[in-house]
Amino acid sequence: MATKSSKSSLIIKNLHVETEDKTNRQSKKEILKGLDLEIKEGEIHAIMGPNGSGKSTLLNALMGHPNYQISGGTIQLKTGDKTKKLNDLKADERSNLGLFMAFQHPIEVPGLSFLHMLRTIKNLKGTEKQSLEELLEELKIELKKLKIDEKALERGINEGFSGGEKKKLEIFQMKVLKPNFILLDEIDSGLDIDALKIVAENIKEFFKKYSPAIIIVTHYARILKFIEPHKVHILSDGKIIKSGGKSLAHITEKHGYEKN
């Protein structure tokens, strides 16, 4: 990541997203119904909301999942005076612009090792000149910080790992790929308290060093005790119904979404 004079922002305007209705192939179901959000590099935003409110849909649509179609509104990346529309870009193109998503349920790719994938991506991007030895050293340092056995590098992607390990490995990939816009989809679910602390520490360390923009989607305020958000948004029925400071998260957890 080059040092920049001005920070980039991800600007979401009046976003409508629909998916195929699983019960009826003919019809589409609208999940996001006009969502507005702006996040700058150096900010951490938390998005909370009840099940089915559209939290995962938002992150998948931002990352470019083909099953989530944008039917209205825009997703833009603004750097200085330049604005780039992301609506029609594929996931790999968005990744090249600095977006990254940590999956709620990381996908298994048998036989393809983390090492091979990360090496291929780094070679493709070609931004950092790194020998295999240098890359290996970097990967091993990050694995150690996340308390993952370095044998994981040679194993198939997410193949046969426990739920907690998979979540840690998402953060591992984030730290190695060094994105500027990070989407964390329920990174805290399925983690015990020790693993949660490790994950939170690694996210904080990365934030401190590179000041990216981070969107944390979560059900619980628990993780927000470890990573303090600058803003908290409440998502309900496809729209952001309330935004506020970090205290909003704790009020919400105490009183539920309905009270807001």
Binding site: D92, L99, I107, G111, K125, L177
Partner: protein, 463 residues
């Protein structure tokens, strides 16, 4: 559309070139007893071999085509050259190989490969081994690595004791054909307790249109010996079909270990119908590592007879079928010894109208007490028109046998693609990475040169 398809075929298959050569002897197309006798006469063979060939020819005429598997109706047995001699004798120095033939093998990288990582190598062009060479240190130890024709001449007793004992001429129509017109292939003998550290390799090349190649390989690994043998094969792209029908016989004696690795990459106008079989004696180990990427139709089921007590067998295979290719491959393991163990790992990838199927036989006779097998067949299907069948036959006559068979079918799903793309891999790369990941458990077992080559092939094939 049709033109484009042919173009891609030519550009993707980098071995599709053909070299202009002056063969020293070409027997006209077609097969008869007279031609069989002529081949034997050219080779100045003993009478027993001439008689054997004639007997096999009669069996070939009598036997029907296989009643299973892909259609072989496209083979016109009258439109094939059964013998072409490319030069007058087998050379043991690359410099002595005629320039235009040498050029072919140079383009295939064979001499380079030998220098780097092999204990010996052989090369067959059309019907004859044109080159054979082994490290002096090994020949001093008594290791024999020669063309099979030389094997018959130089070691007649050893040859006669084993030839045709593992795969009899009347085993099937194509073993009969091979037994009638066989020419070329390797003859290998590894003495007792001799460990051949680096692999021996043979490379097979068909150059002429409508050519039939019928090499025959005989490997005898004496007690306590160790061998890894590799074969590779390619051919030019022609509009008329060629036929490759080989027979491989392997004897793995007590405590010996043999691995036979194949990377089959014939052009898509070659019918590849091969019989491969090994006998493993007490405490011996036999491994077939069989990769089939090329050919029009392949029918090949490497077999292991676990005869000796405590013997082990393993068949690992990878088949890829695209366009209209058909890979009907698999393996057979027959347990007759006590405490014998075996494993079959078969992976297939099919695309377009390709058909990559697994056909297997697993048998444990009454004498095979406490035999153990684990079989796993995985099929990856890349297009809606592609096809893969898993046809395992299991026949167990002994109640103490432990047999497990698993089969799975995969396709590349959107979530896998999205996951990899979200990390920055373009779609094409993501697809070939998923395919490579699927094939990796087999590919990673190959010697490095072949692993690199096969990965490259999988990338091209899945585009």
């Amino acid at each position: 559309m049709a033109t484009k398809k042919i173009d891609t075929l030519f550009t993707n298959y980098k071995y599709g070139f053909h070299t202009d050569t002056k063969s020293t002897l070409v027997i006209p197309k077609g097969l008869s007893e007279k031609i069989v006798r002529q081949i034997s006469a050219i080779k100045e063979e003993p009478k027993w071999m001439t008689d054997y060939r004639v007997k096999a020819y009669k069996e070939f005429v009598k036997k029907p085509l296989p009643d299973f598997g892909p259609s072989l109706g496209g083979i016109n047995f009258d439109d094939i050259h059964y013998y072409i001699r490319p030069q007058d004798k087998t050379q043991n120095k690359w410099e002595d190989v005629p320039a235009e033939i040498k050029e072919t093998f140079d383009r295939l990288g064979i001499p380079e490969h030998e220098k780097r990582s092999l204990a010996g190598s052989g090369a067959q062009f059309e019907s004859e081994m044109i080159y054979h060479s082994i490290k002096e240190s090994l020949s001093k130890k008594g290791v024999i690595f020669d063309s099979i024709d030389q094997g018959l001449k130089k070691y007649p007793e050893l040859f006669k004791a084993y030839f045709g004992t593992i795969v009899p001429y009347n085993d099937n129509k194509f073993s009969a054909l091979n037994s009638a017109v066989w020419s070329g292939g390797s003859f290998i003998y590894i003495p007792k307790n001799t460990y051949v550290e680096l692999p021996l390799q043979a490379y097979f090349r068909i150059n002429t249109e409508s050519m039939g190649q019928f090499e025959r390989t005989l490997i005898i690994a004496d007690e306590g010996s160790f061998l890894h043998y590799i074969e590779g094969c390619t051919a030019p792209v022609y509009s008329k079909d060629s036929l490759h029908s080989a027979v491989v016989e392997i004897i793995v004696k007590k405590n010996a270990h043999v691995q036979y690795t194949t990377v089959q990459n014939w052009s898509t106008n070659v019918y590849n119908l091969v019989t491969k079989r090994a006998y493993a004696y007490e405490n011996a180990e036999m491994i077939w590592l069989d990769c089939n990427v090329g050919s029009k139709v392949t029918m090949k089921y490497p077999s292991i007879y676990l005869i000796g007590d405590n013997s082990k067998g393993e068949i690992k295979s990878l088949a890829m079928a695209k366009d209209n290719q058909c890979q009907d491959t698999g393996g057979k393991i027959i347990h007759t010894g006590k405490n014998t163990t075996s494993k079959i790992i078969a992976k297939s990838i099919s695309k377009d109208h390709g058909n990559a199927s697994y056909r297997g036989l697993l048998k444990a006779t009454k004498s095979a007490r406490n035999s153990f097998n684990y079989s796993k067949c995985d099929a990856l299907i890349l297009s809606p028109e592609a096809r893969s069948d898993t046809i395992p036959k299991i026949s167990i006559d002994d109640p103490t046998a432990s047999i497990a068979h698993e089969a799975s079918i995969f396709k590349i799903d959107d979530s896998q693609l999205f996951y990899l793309m979200s990390r920055g891999l373009p779609q094409d790369t993501a697809v070939s990475e998923i395919v490579n990941g699927f094939a990796n458990p087999i590919v990673s077992e190959l010697p490095m040169e072949y692993a690199v080559e096969l990965k490259r092939l999988l990338e091209i094939e899945t585009e």
